[in-house]
């Protein structure tokens, strides 16, 4: 099923929970709605499901407006954050509930439930009550219940947030694989950027009800459209430094009180129209800084070995930046070091608007 959100808005009184959101989702695509809590992602999902009516704009399923359609007629499956299993029904009854409402025969119901149960590996607990099974199992039951009526669209509302860290990694992969196998259009709501990056084909980043950027995970990572997306995607987050963009003898430089960095041609090409001098925010990811030699001087603040690599926090003047160093890196707090930024990987944002100057 194709989903198209056309200039969708949802207000609660004065609060604009979703503001003029346009988003097209292809058949079979896995899209994540990503943002901090209160950004409007859950409201968007509930509007797609039909629990909220749009204040303005349209929700289209396969090119048909479904604004007025009640949830039960939308042919959707949904997994809730709390799973919302019916506490008074057994696991089997929970899974077959949608089919019972459709008056599907008992035999067919059980066949389908058994098939799904074996796919999700919950055959052994079908007779139990939701309160008697673990969180991971509850999650699988909720998935089975959402999938049994073979919906055209699967909605996942923070499905992994109630699981422990280890289980989350397993379920992440399982859900992704299941989605690919079934080819079902899926919308995932999450505040966890790792979840969105790992699972989704495309990510839509939302903030205060507005769509910030939409695209495949690598695109969001490599060319964030603004400061918000740049800061939200990636752990540890991108480093930001206030600087001035200057042009001297036909070449572009970024200068701060501490250093002056020439920009390579690949970057210069994109910003040659910008009048100089210009106040900018320089963004650089921790893995794009190397410690050893270079023009930029810093002072070690703390060193945190992570095993695979080492996270180093440094002072440049009064600012703190984070650097990912090789696992062999050794230094003690207070030590003076020299740094190099990979110029190619530098991001530039307009200080006024927060928009990227490179896209």
């Amino acid at each position: 099923m194709k989903v198209f959100l056309d200039r969708l808005s949802k207000y609660f009184g004065q609060v604009k929970a979703v503001d003029n959101l346009t988003l097209a989702i292809e058949d079979g695509e896995f899209v994540a709605l990503l943002g901090p809590s209160g950004c409007g992602k859950t409201t968007t999902l509930l509007t797609i499901a039909g629990f909220y009516k749009p204040t303005a704009g349209f929700v289209l399923f396969d090119d048909k407006v479904v604004n007025e359609l009640p949830p039960r007629e939308r042919n959707i499956g949904m997994v809730f954050q709390s799973y919302a299993l019916y506490p008074h029904m057994s696991v089997l009854d929970n899974i077959t509930f949608p089919l019972r409402l459709k008056k599907v025969s008992r035999k067919e119901r059980e066949t389908k439930a058994k098939a799904l149960a074996s796919l999700l590996r919950i055959e052994d607990i079908l007779e139990r009550k939701p309160a008697e099974i673990s969180g991971g199992q509850q999650q699988r039951v909720a998935l089975a219940r959402a999938l049994i009526k073979e919906p055209g669209l699967l909605l996942l509302d923070e499905p992994l947030s109630n699981l422990d860290a280890k289980l989350r990694v397993t379920m992440r992969a399982e859900i992704k694989r299941l989605q690919k196998d079934l080819g079902i259009t899926t919308i995932l709501v999450t505040h966890d950027q790792v979840e969105a990056m790992t699972m989704a084909d495309r990510i839509a980043v939302l903030e205060t009800g507005k769509l910030q950027q939409v695209g495949p995970p690598e695109e969001l990572y490599n060319s964030p459209a603004n400061l918000f997306v740049a800061g939200f995607i990636g752990t540890p987050p991108m480093n930001f430094l206030a600087a001035t963009l200057e042009k001297r003898e036909g070449k572009f430089f970024i200068t701060t009180e501490r250093f002056c960095l020439p920009l390579p041609d690949s970057v210069t090409m994109k910003i040659c129209q910008i009048p100089t001098p210009h106040d900018v925010i320089v963004g650089i990811r921790p893995e794009n800084i190397s410690i050893g030699q270079g023009e930029i001087r810093g002072e070690i603040y703390v060193v945190e070995p992570l095993g695979r690599d080492t996270l180093v926090s440094l002072h440049i003047g009064t600012e703190i930046i984070k650097v990912i160093a090789p696992p062999t890196f050794r230094a003690s707090p207070g030590e003076q070091v020299q740094l190099t930024f990979s110029e190619e990987k530098v991001h530039l944002f307009d200080k006024e608007t927060g928009k990227s100057l490179l896209v």
Binding site: T42, L46, A49, G50, F51, P70, P71, R72, R74, I76, G77, M78, F80, Q81, S82, Y83, A84, L85, Y86, P87, H88, F97, P98, L101, K102, R145, A146, K149, L155, E158, N162
Partner: protein
Amino acid sequence: MAYKRGTKAIPYLILGFVAAPFLIMYVGFFLRAFGEKMVLGIIPAQWGIYNFRFLWQPITWGLEQTTMWTAFGNTMFFATLSGFIVTVICMLAGYALSRVEFRGRSFFLILQLVLHAVPGQILLIAVFFLLLYIGLLHRIPGVALARAALEIPLGVWMAKGFFDGIPWDVERAAMVDGCTRLQVWYKIFLPLVKPGIAAVFIWGFLFAWHDFIYVYTLLPGTIKVMATLIQSLLATEVIDYGYLAALSLIYSIPPLSLFIFLQRALLKVPIFGGKGT
């Protein structure tokens, strides 16, 4: 944590002292009901069920006569009917107030609250006239209806609380799964609020069972319920306290046992975790 022995006894001493007169009253009450031939007025010389003779004999006072079973049956009918009315109305209204957005919802909630400002017992004069005009005065169903109305404002809040306790996600899940609003009600809500239904019914039942002033004022002297029967016997010239204690005991058994049950039922209401928004 260890305390000094002396200070630890203080709470027991204080509460024991306060409770003593009541314990004497309760124990005296039992002795009076089951005792015969009292020595010094309080200590029974002989145990027996002579005081319970109303179980097989008619009760007479003045020129009037009834049986305990008639009064007990009337009380049961009155309380059950009242409890039933309270339950049906409160459950429907509680669901609507908890889940459905409709015009006048806030107004209705505030109205229910403000009604607490006017307790039913002081509106008795008007209720008397009202029942008189609609032809239900002096009839048990009419008085049960009026009595049920008294419990509705609080009962609706109680029922609303039970429905509020069911997460929105469960309801949303049911709607995604294909339930209509009505199906959500009887397939999901009803099974989940069963303990709540029991609690609201018992609530309505108990208040009607306990009621004195409504039945005393609005029912004629010829229709006796337990409360008015005991009151009539108390108002006679010669009072047989043993007989009255026995009658009071029988009258108190249903509410006392229900209170124990109510406590358990309330504890059984399912409690959910999760975001619940």
